[in-house]
Symmetry: C2
Subunit: 393 residues, 2 copies
């Protein structure tokens, strides 16, 4: 090779976008540990810890709880291709990027996607879901995105689980962005299957997708008439690798599993109720500061996620320039909008390690400066002061 | 959580199994760097380096050369589901675990798998391949495993590429274990598509699967009549994320890409010819030492991989006990056999960083001791001396 690129040193960043979130130094250090073989007894014991810790954050006793060796989208695909067979009817809420993606994955699995649409930024209503289920011949699955990362909408699940079961369907949820940031009660709410990602409120680098399958989902999996179309994501094979048999399937991403174990240990040390309260508090402070800047949240009131805040860009403001100024000038990453929200929102993530008082104040101060550069003239310090008032309340 | 598991410290291991291989401290350190967003300009620039470095190890100019966000098996599945459509005929060599797996992935993609079988430990012959291609209506693809990790067989590819093209078929190779250890000349040999893994001769932790698609493979991809069944592995979407458009698809595993970049830099610094020569030399020394212990290689002579040595377990020796003694007593991991070779071979990997003189001598000395414990009585020091003679020649 003529010119070998030099050592890569990432620039300093405060990650307040839609993920990846900030990663704790203990997690970074865990990844730098020497490798083990994927069938080494010491690694196998570590896999057991990972499963146990995942059951803890998912609030479940499901034995089939493990990280898929891919990112959150691989978790989505794993859930669908294992639960769904060609010809099945699947009902899903579509009110953002990830509901839209769910429908596409369902169709690629040969099933029929019954889309229950709501405007981006609003939740899908139980009445709509019920009507869709009633319109099906025999719905196999109802799937809802718990935390829609593209809009910041927090979808209620409990009524929907009941509706699914009333209609003989399984219930699946996408909790990529919610897990570890707000309650995800797999067993208490009766959720049959769920998938998540590591790089949001678990504050682990991206690369693994925790999934959990409950008893009804397992029955569907084991009673399939057709083979799972994906060999890589086939849970009937993966449960034998991650289960007692330890039958070789693929080589698990060793270092990523080290990282996930350490990230989950941090979650367990903090405790879920404290972690959820921290996410709520920092969201409230951010929201107060944004309001002081005259900025509005795009998600429906009462259904706003604490860890993902979609902020409506004011008329006349160049949203990309503001984001660019935060990134290049302050080293702060926030996200832009996707799909119909492209150019219309900023997405400020306060996920896991990113959800900290210092970060909230830093992003508010930076936004204030950027808006001033856009000839908006917010009162100096007003945003930070409004957020501080929430912390001091 | 009642009892939080303690910090995980992996026991010291010398990884001389079928992968993962030893990872250089520079690569471990690279993974511990703070994260960037997956659309950050600094990360995007890093992705370009990764693509350029991958083209270098694949010896190709193919623009569509990138790491799939999964392990080697995800690379296999990506290659198949992107190239193959339901009803296509695919011819593949089946003489070990990975050829067997290829056939299964092909069938799950709705295509017809035409298996060209050879005994495990032997190569698939060109005559057999030609007969199989001739027997097809219209073969879409010929796929061969370049380095069969289950047997240590080194499959010649060049004649097979010509045969594929003569019959109007594309040529795909699995170079998971060969890439970076022996020549893989994508462009010079006319290979249309290939996939690999990171944890073998590239000596990067597992978690990514480099793939490359040449012009004919791209034509097949872009001319598909059906959608790729996997959304996660759909290269028509991935090429837009890894290409100039940077259209968000999934969140790339940031830290794993840092690691791959650094591992590839180490490959480039050593240079491919020197790296291949190192793999050959250490293999020759190991083979000499094994011969001095009265041990035989299971793969056909003349077609033995330098980086994966399947060693026939002598009659009356407890293969699992020997492996256990190496692992528990000496911290050395070697692999056992798979499928019909289970209990019949040890697999000694000398891949990437693992392919070192000190490691060869260490594993030979440990094997000698283990065989003595099995009441075999090799001449003391004979194995190490035989290997040393190769190094000193």
């Amino acid at each position: 090779m003529r010119v070998i690129p030099g050592e890569f040193t990432p620039p300093a960043r405060l990650l307040l976008g839609p993920g990846p979130s900030q990663v704790h130094p203990r997690v970074l250090r865990a990844m730098a540990a020497p490798l083990l073989g994927h069938l080494d007894p010491a690694f196998v014991a570590m896999m057991e810890d990972v499963k146990r810790l995942l059951r803890f954050v998912f609030a479940t006793e499901n034995p089939l709880t493990l990280p898929i060796s891919g990112t959150g989208s691989a978790g989505m695909e794993a859930a669908i291709v294992n639960l769904v067979e060609p010809g099945d009817e699947v009902v899903m809420g579509v009110n953002g990027v990830f509901g839209t993606r769910l429908a596409e994955v369902v169709e690629r699995a040969g099933a029929t996607a019954v889309r229950v649409e709501a405007p981006w930024g609003r939740v899908v209503r139980a009445e709509q879901i019920e009507a869709a289920l009633r319109g099906c011949r025999r719905p196999k699955l109802l799937a809802l995105v718990h935390a829609e990362t593209s809009t910041g909408v927090w979808q209620p699940l409990e009524d929907a689980v009941r509706l699914a079961h009333d209609h003989g369907a399984l219930f699946l949820t996408d909790c990529v962005t919610s897990l570890g940031g707000v309650p995800v009660e797999i067993d208490a709410w009766g959720i049959d299957a769920a998938y998540s990602g590591t790089q949001k409120c678990l504050s682990c680098p991206p690369g693994l997708a925790p999934v959990t399958f409950g008893p009804r989902a397992l029955d569907a999996l084991h009673g399939r008439k057709t083979r799972v179309q994906s060999w890589y994501l086939d849970l009937t094979l993966l449960e034998r690798y991650w289960g007692e048999e330890r039958v070789y399937h693929h080589t698990a991403p060793i270092s990523m599993n080290y990282a996930l174990r350490e990230a989950l240990r941090l979650v367990a040390e903090e405790g879920l109720p404290a972690r959820f309260a921290r996410h709520r508090l920092n969201h409230a402070a951010l929201a107060a500061g944004l309001a002081a800047l005259g900025l509005e949240l795009a998600a429906e009131e009462g259904h706003r996620l604490p860890m993902l805040n979609a902020v409506t860009v004011p008329e006349g403001v160049d949203e990309a320039r503001v984001r660019g100024q935060l990134l290049a000038g302050r080293g702060i990453e926030i996200g832009g909008g996707l799909g119909p929200m492209k150019g219309r929102v900023w997405r400020i993530g306060l996920m896991g390690e990113s959800s900290q008082r210092v970060h909230v104040l830093a992003v508010l101060a930076a936004l204030e400066e950027a808006l001033r550069a856009e000839r908006r003239l917010p009162a100096p310090g007003a945003a930070v002061a409004a957020a501080q008032a929430v912390y001091e309340a």
